[in-house]
Symmetry: C3
Subunit: 346 residues, 3 copies
């Protein structure tokens, strides 16, 4: 693939400054060659403008004078992402429906669905147009998979689950395995059968080996446009709002509700049956064990306001010194009190 | 499926109060319709009794007067779980042995084993009656899989491992991958071949994408009735007792021994070569780096008694204030000492 | 398999003391039988020498007098690992190329590659000699897989990724899924297409269900001889040096650089865009949020020097007492100051 710079500027509907040329790829400022396009989004990389060999740079108006050839944009990162999309090639080249797949006669596939070898599609499942199922995908009975989805290799969607449109499930994702529910008996524990399902709304993307459990009763739900990274665990009956960002290795226990536009950084853990308010940002490795009612930035395990967390972390390594100082103060005060008593007694 | 309330009461062997009726499903107090059964286990939901539309509610004797129709039970949650079991339908409808599967001629399958397409069963593996192997399951050579097990899609059981009866392995579980063992050399590290196996006892349930490594020598073992959630990591030569509950994303390093009836909450980490006493409960995100000899409730990383942990967490955000106060006290005491010295010198 | 003790000593090129005999297996000092070989590496197990039934023990010269039969070695653990290798049998007995696999006509496989059933190999992929692909493996288009690799069941290598020689990928490993990159828009988030790849160098071993994301641009790289445990997450554009050890459930966010010979213990989390110096050792559950410039041992979240961390942890449970003591000191000092003022006023 190759494009003229002017064609790229037209595609973005942005102004282009400099001489036209041919672009055959995308790269960072420091690695780009003369026939590659780059971008400047983070001010700390301004210094690379002078030495970058990039054929053209997408940047904000204020940096336009620093380079010979640029495409001027109010949002260089977003525009660059779109240009990368021009050059990107989707994974996988298989087309049609492999006769090495197993499609139950009662399943219904729209025309144009791609089914690789070794895919299993159970009875009464529906797969809508434009969706691709890579090798090793399992679609259980009565599932609904919307339009233009991509289910990468070895994705599992257990029976009765519902996947919206334009959803991306990366390799090894498991949707709709049983939630973790047991009733105590005298001898041990008895399984609480998990008869609910999972609903994934439109434009959700879910990272490799992430697991989202089916509800005990009712549904587990991930809201529209939410992006989930790799190895995230979502327990049964959890509700996640729309446009959230959930980074790798987060765990969310059962029946918890996450609002809209919430950002959970890596390795956060959230207890069951709590609510997290819209728009909250939770720092990496934090632990949440009760409702977060007020939108804000929080960190720590258990969480506190992020600024307080930073100050606490700054003091924490001084704790042994504080402990010693406290003992010294105690001794000195006890001595002072004694001396003082002596004076008073005189 | 549908049942009369009286039939359900008979099934549970419990007393039924009120007029009989037909029940076609199970739900929570707040979501149940007139033809659904519900339950009250948590006292904080008593308020929903008045407004619930549920056709009948399973509850403790003391709440019986609050509703028109109820089934009276000393353990409403357990009894409700059993009723849900009446209505639950097992995942998957495939029967027989698919000719799209690969079964080594030296493998031995009992009659009535279900083998979906794309299952691989290695030489000398034994699979006992009533067990179901979903698509993408791999059973290595010399494995033994007991009766009435369910191995969901893409479960991997590496060679020589032993799975008991009525074991449930959720999608993506890996049993018997090599433990993480290397011997240092001058140039780097050399693999310590992992020649042990994994033994999973009866009635164990293991969540999606959990991994349980084979022993270096000897065995890794999970005891009878233990329930393990999703994305848990169990290292080589670990021994887990019976009736434990291990919540999602816990990691247990090599050669550690977990007693019976231990509960590990989410994201707990346990170092290698330590022992955790029977009946311990370990709070979420805790870290254990030495033996826990006394049964109790512990939290923190490293752990302390849970009550002490709660008090410590309550004080932690005050640490910056404490640090400042300590400096002020130091100044004031130094000043007092000086003033005192002046007096004594007079 | 069986060997004479003298044959084993010759294989190791070590001195053998005692009477020759036949060895048929390897075991720990406490579990070994008369026909098994064992080893002593950890001094705390010296006490088992007297009672061990092992047919021969590999140990350091200073312990040679404690037993009748021993192989004397400066590095008993490494030598024992090598002996275990004599007795170890590789997983899987399949040979040849299964006609239940899918190999694209434009893929190139060297002679001697083993392809189990249900393997998918995309166009233009190259697989070099001696490599084994277990069931459910997916190799995307344009991938390169070097010599003598083992890809265990359900391993996924997405298109364009490069795997070196003698690499071991345990079940469920995902190499080259999309990195987690999105550009904010007014309405939500737009995907930044991930057009880079992953490069895994020679002698790397990667544990079950670990995920290593493809780069946004350029490459994600794991250096030669690095060993990665189960359920580790490596973000896009991360560079990991050679001979590192990365224990289970570690998460490394995008664009971070890990030096050579770094050890990350279990459940460590590292933020994006930071550097960790060669030779660092990072304690379990630690969190790193900025550059670690100096080689050393660190722990905590955020990290501090390990010794300081240990002292801090020792004091932490005393924090509630410190808080109370601080209040008492404040009262006593205020009282002293008042009394002092009274005296001065006299």
């Amino acid at each position: 693939m190759k494009y003229k710079i002017s064609e790229i500027a037209d595609f973005l509907n942005r102004e282009f400054k400099g001489e036209d040329g041919v672009i055959i790829g995308c790269n960072t400022l420091s690695d780009a060659r003369e026939d590659e396009i780059s971008f400047l989004a983070n001010p700390k990389y301004v210094k690379y403008l002078a030495t970058s060999r990039a054929g053209v740079v997408i940047l904000e108006p204020k940096y336009a004078k620093e380079v010979d050839k640029c495409i001027i944009s109010p949002n260089p990162y977003l525009d660059f992402a779109r240009v990368v999309g021009l050059f990107a090639k989707a994974q996988g080249e298989f087309t049609g429906i492999s006769d090495l797949s197993f499609i139950h006669p009662d399943a219904h596939l729209d025309k144009g669905v791609v089914v690789y070898p070794y895919v299993f599609i159970g009875p009464r499942a529906q797969i809508k147009k434009g969706t691709k199922l890579f090798p090793g995908v399992y679609i259980g009975e009565d599932c609904f998979i919307g339009e233009d989805c991509v289910l990468y290799p070895n994705v599992v969607v257990m029976g009765q689950c519902i996947i919206g449109n334009r959803v991306i499930l990366h390799p090894g994702v498991v949707i709709g395995a049983d939630g973790f529910g047991f009733a105590a008996t005298q001898g041990g524990r008895e399984k609480f059968p998990q008869i609910g399902n999972v609903v994934i709304e439109d434009e959700v993307e879910i990272g490799a080996n992430t697991t989202i459990d089916r509800a005990a009763l009712g549904e587990t739900r991930v809201g529209k446009g939410t992006k989930i990274d790799n190895q995230v665990q979502v327990g049964h009956n959890v509700k996640i709002g729309s446009n959230c960002v959930i980074v790798a290795q987060v765990g969310i226990a059962g029946s918890t509700r996450i609002g809209n536009n919430v950002i959970l950084a890596g390795q956060v853990g959230i207890a069951g049956h709590v609510n997290v308010a819209d728009g909250c940002m939770i720092g990496a490795k934090s632990g949440i064990n009760k409702d977060v009612k007020k939108t804000g930035i929080y960190s720590g395990a258990p969480i506190m306001e992020h600024n307080k967390f930073l100050r606490t972390c700054a003091v924490l390594p001084k704790l042994p010194d504080m402990h010693r100082e406290l003992k010294r103060l105690r001794q000195e005060i006890d001595k002072l009190k004694e001396q003082f008593k002596d004076i008073q007694d005189k």
